[in-house]
């Protein structure tokens, strides 16, 4: 999530953030990655039912390019269109300087969203 958040930094999570609401596009969320201790910070880019794809590093949602001012490092990622399943969101990190295969991103269940980082 660099440069928005420092890699391996300490962040606090606001667990009640999504108790009565769902994550919206551009939200930074805490994703429970493994067990109850390993968490990832990711940005929500696609919501359930939407189609997400990368074309030459540009993110498209439902065929329209998405403005992402938080992405500082340009990339040349390509990913064929895919639909986000029900009760899921599509998350990607802000740091896209690495090859696509080295980046943890994709569709995740809403149950894995633990909250949002406090700051």
């Amino acid at each position: 999530m660099e440069p928005t958040y420092r890699s391996r930094g300490v962040n606090f999570c606001w667990r009640l953030r999504y108790l009565f609401s769902k994550p919206t596009r551009h939200d930074v969320v805490v994703v429970r990655f493994a067990g109850s201790k390993v968490m990832l910070l990711k940005r929500v880019v696609g919501l359930e039912g939407e189609q997400v794809e990368f074309r030459d590093g540009k993110l498209f949602v439902n065929g329209n390019p998405l403005e992402e001012p938080y992405v500082r490092h340009p990339c040349n990622w390509n990913l064929s269109p895919r639909k986000v399943d029900n009760h899921c969101v599509y998350v990607v990190g802000d740091n896209r300087s690495m090859p696509i295969e080295n980046h943890y991103f994709g569709q995740t269940s809403m149950e894995r969203i633990m909250g949002e980082p406090l700051w």
Partner: protein, 166 residues
């Protein structure tokens, strides 16, 4: 005074007996956890590992698995049923990619849904250095099934939970 002496000796004998029972007759859960400790030990690799140690470790890995084991590891396109011999080959090729490798398991939570069947949810962390000098640090959530065959717990299924599906 003599009675107290006998009582203390008797208490000591009982305590030694209880300790010996726990030591020599570990619970099924401990036996299952021991299999993970062995898998971690056999998968791990030090730099400059010689052929003899490597062969021993591969043999050790093979002995931990049943005749067939189902793998679901979508990140590495490893899905389906594999025989013990195939698993040895996968382990051999996998370890050959690394000059050093450490596999550790955390937060093991076991249950016994059926007789002679154990389900363990856990976190696996793989750290090391590839032969090309790249640092590797991966963490995954796993669900493993082990079957008890001839008093030994053997891995019969291993699934890596796909949290982020591309």
């Amino acid at each position: 005074m003599v009675k107290i002496k006998y009582l203390i000796v008797a208490l000591l004998i009982v305590m030694v007996g209880i300790s010996a029972t726990f030591l020599f007759f570990p619970s099924e859960e401990k036996k299952v956890k021991k299999r993970f400790a062995l898998l971690s030990e056999h998968m791990s690799k030090d730099s400059g590992e010689n052929t003899f140690i490597m062969a021993n470790k591969i043999k050790g890995i093979s002995a931990l698995f049943g005749e067939n084991c189902n793998f679901t590891v979508s990140d590495y396109s490893l899905s389906g049923n594999y025989t013990r011999e195939e698993i040895s080959g996968i382990a051999l090729r996998g370890r050959a990619h690394f000059s050093t490798l450490v596999l550790k398991f955390y937060d093991l939570k076991g249950s016994f849904p059926e007789k002679d069947l154990a389900q363990v949810n856990l976190i696996a962390r793989l750290t090391g250095k590839s032969v090309y000098g790249e640092h590797v640090d991966e963490t995954h959530e796993l669900i493993c099934l082990l079957k008890k065959v001839e008093k030994k717990w053997l891995f019969s299924s291993l699934e890596v939970i796909e949290v982020l599906k591309r």
